[in-house]
């Protein structure tokens, strides 16, 4: 009885700690959401979190986009690109990571060092030569330069991530599978993949987020407004010569968080369940 009460007390204490910390962190986001429901000329004048005059105008106006293309098209394009990138990264980064983490081959350490080095060069200086490559493929103004590279595991971040997770799995698992007659691919598919689900989910989530957020490449490779993406669309609400539409920009910023939020929320049960190696380990 007493033990249960102290447990509840502890849970209450934890809950309130989390909530207070969370509220502090969320203030900017709450302000953003509130601002998206304010009239444009009240956004900066009205400091309160709760709008004095509540309006949906920003959402209506924002959704209609830039006049020639609606915001729904930007969402569609972003979804399309993200979906393909997510699948490609999950498959090819995990294959590559498996090789680096578990397989023995000549030059493994050198290749791994090269893999890390490719992450260390600031991307701005490779924009132009990359552009020239894709131009020679006639891929400008298509989604291909944004998607196809993922089929070749160019995101070293995820390879390294998965390598770290795979290396921390007990190696006896592979050995017993080997005895059971599994080949290299069999081990990858039957042992490694199921056990690295949290890391794979992380890969999926981050690929989605970062592709969703990747303004620079989208700016360079997509020319036609019909192919523009969400971050490009958001930038078009701001105008360097004066006529910015903050209201619609905030409204669409809030909307642009929704897909990632839903994805996160629906994927996180895999974190909750976790992975138990009990039983296999024998």
């Amino acid at each position: 009885m007493n033990k249960r009460a102290s447990g509840m007390l502890r849970a209450g204490y934890l809950n309130s700690l989390i909530i207070v910390l969370g509220l502090g962190m969320l203030y900017p986001i709450l302000w953003l959401i509130a601002a998206s429901f304010k009239e444009t000329n009240a956004i900066f004048g009205d400091p309160g979190l709760i709008p004095k005059a509540f309006t949906l105008k920003n959402y209506v106006k924002g959704w209609s986009g830039i006049g020639i293309v609606g915001f729904s098209a930007f969402f569609r394009n972003s979804f399309f690109i993200c979906a393909l990138c997510v699948v490609a990264n999950a498959v090819f980064c995990s294959l590559t990571a498996y090789a680096f983490a578990r397989l023995r081959f000549a030059g493994r350490n050198i290749w791994f060092a090269i893999l890390l080095i490719t992450m260390m060069l600031p991307g701005h200086v490779t924009l132009i030569p990359r552009y020239i490559i894709f131009r020679s493929f006639h891929w400008i103004d298509t989604f291909l330069p944004l998607i196809v590279p993922k089929l070749f595991a160019v995101d070293a971040f995820f390879i390294f991530l998965l390598v770290q997770f795979i290396r921390s799995l007990p190696k006896e698992l592979d050995e017993s599978a080997l005895i059971d007659g599994c080949g290299k691919f069999g081990i990858y598919w039957r042992i490694i993949i199921p056990l690295t689900v949290p890391a794979l989910i992380t890969t999926v989530l981050f690929t989605f987020l970062w592709t969703w957020d990747d303004f620079f490449n989208q700016l360079l490779y997509l020319n036609s407004p019909q192919r523009y993406t969400v971050p490009m669309g958001l930038r078009l609400f701001l105008d360097s010569s004066g006529v910015s539409s903050w209201g619609p920009m905030f409204a669409m910023s809030v909307l642009s968080l929704v897909p990632s939020f839903i994805l996160f929320f629906s994927l996180q049960k895999y974190f909750v369940q976790g992975i138990s190696t009990t039983g296999i380990k024998g």
């Binding site: 934890l14 023995r104 200086v125 990359r130």
Partner: protein
């Protein structure tokens, strides 16, 4: 003997088969741009006209300089700003992320909801809205100062536009967006077999002791990964500073990150050769620090398989 070599070759080939996509990508998409930028670092290149070979001049201007090619003071400043940013924000972010991850690993009913809430700042990423939000919080008449004035009767500075403090607001932003390492920590925590904890509970170990004797060692590969990756990405921080300072490192170049200056040099000032040289200098700095971290990790990181 011969059979053994053949077997080794076959073993090698079948391993390399898994690497084919990555190797193709490396040779077709990554190697040429990297090599080309290395070549450009020895040239003067304004993007629109062919590059002109200038030997080591770009590097000379960065570190020494003379009367004809004066030393670039803004370069050194940007390097120092970036180093400060990396060495302060990365540890803070990692500690915070790990702390929250441990908290989020508890079995509370509302945990899924909490996790999502804590992840929202990270979802915002490099959104243009951040510029407004941060100004709103840290401007002279921002939210923070309103609180400080009201509650503590202080006369605080305009944090975001004061050269002494502007960089700290960016560090705070980096820490605020701690979601990525948190998620990775969380995934790592989930991979720690529960029986380790059960066994130590039987031995009477408390939570704190479990944290140090089980959680930290088991998590060490992941901590190491987060450290390396956060360091690499902090050195290359660009978007947030670009958005918040309006792309000019204001005030007084106090938020002029290395990558921001590199971008301004390359695309703004038409000195892509110099920008490439800067990029390779950064690569060497990051590479050296990463190598050091790898060496140091040897004794601290334990992999389950004892590799």
């Amino acid at each position: 003997m011969k059979r053994k070599t053949r077997k080794a070759i076959r073993e090698n080939l079948s391993s390399y088969a898994f690497l084919i996509p990555w190797l193709l990508g490396f040779f077709v998409l990554t190697l040429y741009p990297m090599a080309y930028s290395l070549y450009l670092s020895f040239t003067q290149y304004n993007i629109l006209q062919p590059p002109k070979w200038t030997g080591l001049r770009n590097f000379f201007v960065m570190f020494a300089g003379d009367a004809q090619y004066p030393k670039d003071d803004r370069f050194l400043n940007s390097l120092l700003v970036t180093l400060r940013f990396v060495f302060i924000s990365v540890p803070l972010k990692l500690v915070f992320a790990l702390g929250v991850a441990v908290l989020m690993n508890r079995k509370l009913r509302l945990i899924p909801f909490y996790r999502a809430i804590y992840y929202i700042p990270t979802l915002l990423g490099g959104s243009v809205a951040i510029a407004v939000l941060w100004r709103r919080l840290f401007a002279g008449d921002g939210v923070l100062n309103t609180i400080l004035r009201g509650l503590f009767k202080l006369d605080p500075p305009a944090w975001i536009s004061n050269p002494k403090y502007a960089l700290y607001t960016l560090m705070l932003l980096a820490v605020w967006q701690f979601g990525s390492p948190m998620i990775i920590f969380l995934a790592g925590l989930k991979q720690i077999p529960q029986e380790y904890y059960d066994a130590s509970s039987v031995d009477g170990a408390g939570r704190t002791r479990q944290f140090f004797s089980i959680t930290l060692p088991c998590l060490s590969p992941i901590i190491f990964f987060n450290l390396v990756m956060q360091m690499i990405s902090a050195f290359q921080s660009f978007t947030q500073a670009f958005i918040i300072s309006g792309g000019n490192g204001s005030p007084l170049d106090s938020t002029m990150f290395y990558s921001l200056y590199l971008y301004i040099k390359g695309f703004g000032f038409g000195e892509m050769g110099y920008a490439s040289a800067m990029a390779w200098v950064l690569l060497i700095i990051i590479g050296a620090l990463t190598a050091l971290t790898f060496r140091a990790s040897g004794s601290l990181v334990s992999y389950g398989s004892g590799e």
